[in-house]
Symmetry: C2
Subunit: 189 residues, 2 copies
């Protein structure tokens, strides 16, 4: 999606260790007009797929997912990072490794909000190693929900997550796919 690529070129900052900072418009300060354009693009790509719910994960997926959901006319469910070690029986639960702070997050969704009747679009801001998206897929599987696909804002295509998830047969629509990057340069696929 040209609009997102241009914004990344203009305002994205590449830092050491394959870090792309897009926090001025995507995941700390958030440009909701850009999000609306992204939502329209996913609605076009997934038209006719019967999506009845969007599933995302806190925190930075939530804003994008909510604005995209307006285009689909469906509710959003966000998977929560639990801070309690007692995971009750009324939730679906996965462990997702974190590359930002190390360790593992316990991520849960109430069983009241996902089930076999659901046809999900998964939404997240980034796809790199794929851990978050694989966590959402595992939650969908536990619920018996079907997955129309995943809408990702920025995919680091030089990291293995996207290829691994597509190899499972999941449709992944990334609006900007980065082939390579370094200080001062960003190359899209």
């Amino acid at each position: 999606m040209r609009e997102l690529e241009e914004r990344i070129r203009r305002d994205g900052i590449v830092e050491d260790g394959d870090v792309l900072k897009v926090d001025s418009f995507l995941n700390h300060q958030m440009d909701v007009e850009l999000f609306a354009a992204m939502g329209r693009e996913w609605a076009r790509l997934f038209a006719g797929e019967g999506v009845n719910k969007i599933l995302t994960i806190e925190a930075s997926g939530i804003g994008i997912a909510c604005i995209a959901a307006q285009q689909f006319g469906v509710p959003v469910v966000f998977a929560k990072k639990s801070r309690t070690k007692n995971i009750a029986g009324d939730v679906y639960h996965v462990e997702i490794p974190s590359f930002t702070h190390g360790g593992v997050s316990d991520v849960i969704v109430s069983k009241r909000f996902l089930g076999p009747g659901d046809r999900l679009l998964l939404i997240d801001d980034f796809l790199a190693n794929g851990a978050a998206l694989e966590g959402l897929l595992a939650l969908a599987e536990q619920a018996g929900a079907s997955v129309a696909g995943a809408g990702v804002a920025v995919e680091k295509a030089f990291q293995p997550g996207g290829a691994r998830i597509r190899a499972r047969g999941v449709r992944v629509e990334s609006l900007a796919r980065i082939q390579s990057m370094g200080p001062g340069h960003i190359e899209f696929c």
Copy 2:
């Protein structure tokens, strides 16, 4: 706001210990059409206030804030709960006590996204003891930003946060104010 009050009456669940669960439409599963109606109401209430940015806090404020921001035509900044103990010098920082999981959260906003030129609307899903909103006010104060007011979805008016924050001269617009509640009954102000 009648639409929100009716939804709380219909789908809210009062549990022991003054807990109101509204997770089927507000803060786990999210009804984005309801959020749009809430955003229109805040836009009406704060019209002419010169709001140029919305400030909220992860996680459950983000969706409401993003959809409200569309009505104002402004970006959103969300305050992040930091998991690193090293708070760098390029962020505003407050400690916010948590009544959900006990303890204290370190909450930060990058200095790049708030400053003296900003006129903020604070948005959050709940106002009870006021800790989160007071944290956002402290962040605004550190930034030298002015605050047009706070938009809250659900205020537990029988808890002290709302009165304390209004006593500081901050305009608080809560769309549903609960006067009292118990198993099977919810009374609005």
